[in-house]
């Protein structure tokens, strides 16, 4: 594992992605590479723009999405106070970045692996797909509310097989739930691996089916974080034994039978 560190890097580019009804919702943020000797998918970074001064105190966690040793790109959904200021940064602005943080998704090259993404939960799967030694064994399924073009879905469908479902009307939700059950049952029968990232209700559904159907599955949690390094105990979740564990250091990825959502 590479050495973690914290340093200042410059923003190289901020580009909106897709056309959601709310303009300016999804962005790719490209930063100078922070000089790590590597990272693995599932891991994340904390970033904190210098311009925040003492307004907003905490950095914000984002999944490691794409990086080539020269640049590092994050995929950011604008949902609130911090992210709205992050997506309005300009090239040349400075951010503090610390990482790579947290654990990683399981990689089993020869195992059929199902990637279940709920909306922005697709972010960590870009790194996963691009670094997987046998992408032919992967299938990515995206459940989305906003138009599919908002997500890096087309990009990934060039590399791996994909499926998707939109949740536009209330009745769509049941279709998605039924589909999740069917897909998880299929991977459980093939002793496959199921990896999931998305909103908590989505992950709860996946966890319930995985536990019921005996699928080996992991979920990646997105708890609120202050330090990102395991010190503040603000991000905890309960492990399978009822103990509070830090999502930032013991996770963000957990096996579904070892976490309470």
């Amino acid at each position: 594992m590479s050495l973690r560190n914290c340093r200042n890097v410059k923003v190289l580019d901020v580009s909106p992605v897709g056309q959601s009804k709310r303009p300016g919702e999804f962005f790719e943020i490209t930063l100078e590479y922070p000089g790590w000797d590597g990272w693995q998918s599932g891991q994340f970074v904390m970033i904190r723009p210098a311009s925040w001064e003492l307004d907003l105190l905490w950095g914000r966690p984002f999944s490691l999405y794409s990086g080539d040793g020269e640049t590092l790109t994050l995929f950011v959904q604008n949902v609130g106070r911090g992210t709205s200021r992050i997506v309005s940064m300009q090239p040349g602005d400075e951010v503090a970045i610390w990482g790579p943080l947290g654990n990683t998704f399981a990689v089993e090259p020869d195992t059929p692996t199902l990637l279940l993404a709920g909306g922005i939960g697709i972010a960590p799967f870009r790194g996963y797909v691009e670094s997987h030694p046998k992408p032919e064994n992967l299938h990515l399924f995206l459940a989305h509310r906003l138009p599919k073009e908002c997500y890096p879905f087309e990009l990934l469908s060039k590399t791996v097989s994909t499926g998707s479902m939109a949740e536009e009307r209330p009745e769509d939700l049941q279709r998605i739930i039924d589909s999740l059950r069917e897909q998880i049952a299929d991977y459980a029968a093939r002793d496959g691996l199921v990896l999931c990232c998305g909103p908590t209700p989505f992950m709860k559904t996946v966890q319930a089916f995985a536990n019921e159907l005996g699928a080996r599955a992991q979920v990646s949690l997105e708890n609120r974080m202050a330090c990102g390094v395991g010190a503040c105990l603000g991000c905890v979740t309960k492990d399978g034994e009822g103990h509070h564990v830090q999502v930032c250091t013991k996770g963000p990825v957990f096996w579904t039978d070892k976490v309470e959502l």
């Binding site: 560190n5 914290c6 003492l54 503090a96 202050a226 330090c227 390094v229 010190a231």
Partner: protein, 305 residues
């Protein structure tokens, strides 16, 4: 500039420590800086038995601050001594243990466990347990209790320095300070968090599961500075100041008012190397403002006649 400070038998390479609960057991930050560069670290609150702490959500960001209701989650003092202490000792880190208990007897017991550990330089007594026996009033709000707890800890702490950490959630903090000093405290540290709350109008729910939480960060610095100012003038023992420190200037403000040392808490979340860089910044700022020494600068605040 000589940054060394010494008070009540405690020797620190510089006056910058990290505050309990914001720096883990220190090891979490070892990837981001040299822990021995800090004057010392105050470990996260320890109790006799492991504690799971409060339910989630436990933290919320507020303007220039944050609320927390972690509930002293910790693996218990034995675990700290066997798991974290050996590495801290090997590295040569100055460690202050922060104690949490709900009566004087239990505080005394904790102190006696830590008294044996040569790697622990001092004990910091956190008196903010909500004391159910006394009708829910926190220990730290009752001067008589503060006195009893301080005595109990001091009696069983061997030759360790005992620092009593005061809460600002009182009418007159100097009364609490005197009670701790009379109980035999070697120094006082202040302030702990201010009692606060945040709600979500859309969900119509509190933002913290525990409803009431502790406010920290730059938002509380003026309150902290006022408390240190009042306490250094009311007791003869040294004071360690904290609350909202987020720059070298903030550190020197506390020292100017009379603090012997400071602790940095919430600012460790601005970036994990914050406290390490602060040490150098304080040294250069002291030189820049023309102070001859820390000693000369400390408490040199000129008040209106």
């Amino acid at each position: 500039m000589d940054m060394h400070v010494s008070f009540g038998g405690l020797e620190l390479d510089n006056p910058i420590m990290t505050a309990s609960g914001t720096f883990g057991f220190g090891l979490e930050f070892a990837a981001y800086g040299d822990l021995t560069k800090l004057g010392g670290i105050v470990a996260k609150g320890l109790s006799l038995k492991p504690r799971e702490g409060n339910p989630m959500p436990r933290i919320a960001e507020t303007p220039c601050g944050m609320l927390n209701a972690i509930g002293i989650q910790n693996p218990g003092v034995e675990n700290f001594l066997t798991q974290a202490m050996p590495a801290l000792k090997r590295m040569g880190v100055t460690v202050v243990a922060n104690l949490y208990a709900c009566d004087a007897e239990e505080f005394g017991e904790l102190a006696s466990v830590l008294a044996e550990e040569e790697g622990v330089a001092a004990l910091e007594v956190n008196v903010s347990c909500p004391n159910v026996k006394e009708g829910g009033i926190a220990f730290g709000q009752d001067p008589a209790q503060i006195g009893r707890v301080t005595e109990a800890v001091k009696k069983r702490a061997g030759n360790k320095h005992v620092m009593v950490k005061l809460s600002p959630n009182v009418t007159d903090i100097t009364v609490c300070a005197k009670a701790a000093a009379d109980g035999g405290a070697d120094s006082l540290s202040l302030i702990n968090t201010l009692s606060g709350m945040a709600v979500d109008i859309r969900k119509r729910k509190p933002r913290i599961a525990n409803v009431i939480a502790g406010l920290s960060g730059p938002a509380i610095k003026p309150v902290a500075l006022r408390c240190v100012h009042q306490v250094v003038r009311s007791v003869d023992i040294p004071v360690v100041g904290m609350g909202g420190i987020a720059s070298a200037e903030d550190v020197l403000e506390f020292i100017l008012v009379g603090a012997h040392a400071v602790q940095v808490g919430t600012a460790n979340f601005l970036r994990p190397d914050f406290a390490f860089t602060l040490v150098d910044e304080v040294e250069s700022l002291l030189e820049e403002i023309g102070a001859k020494s820390l000693e000369e600068f400390r408490g040199s605040l000129e008040l209106p006649l």
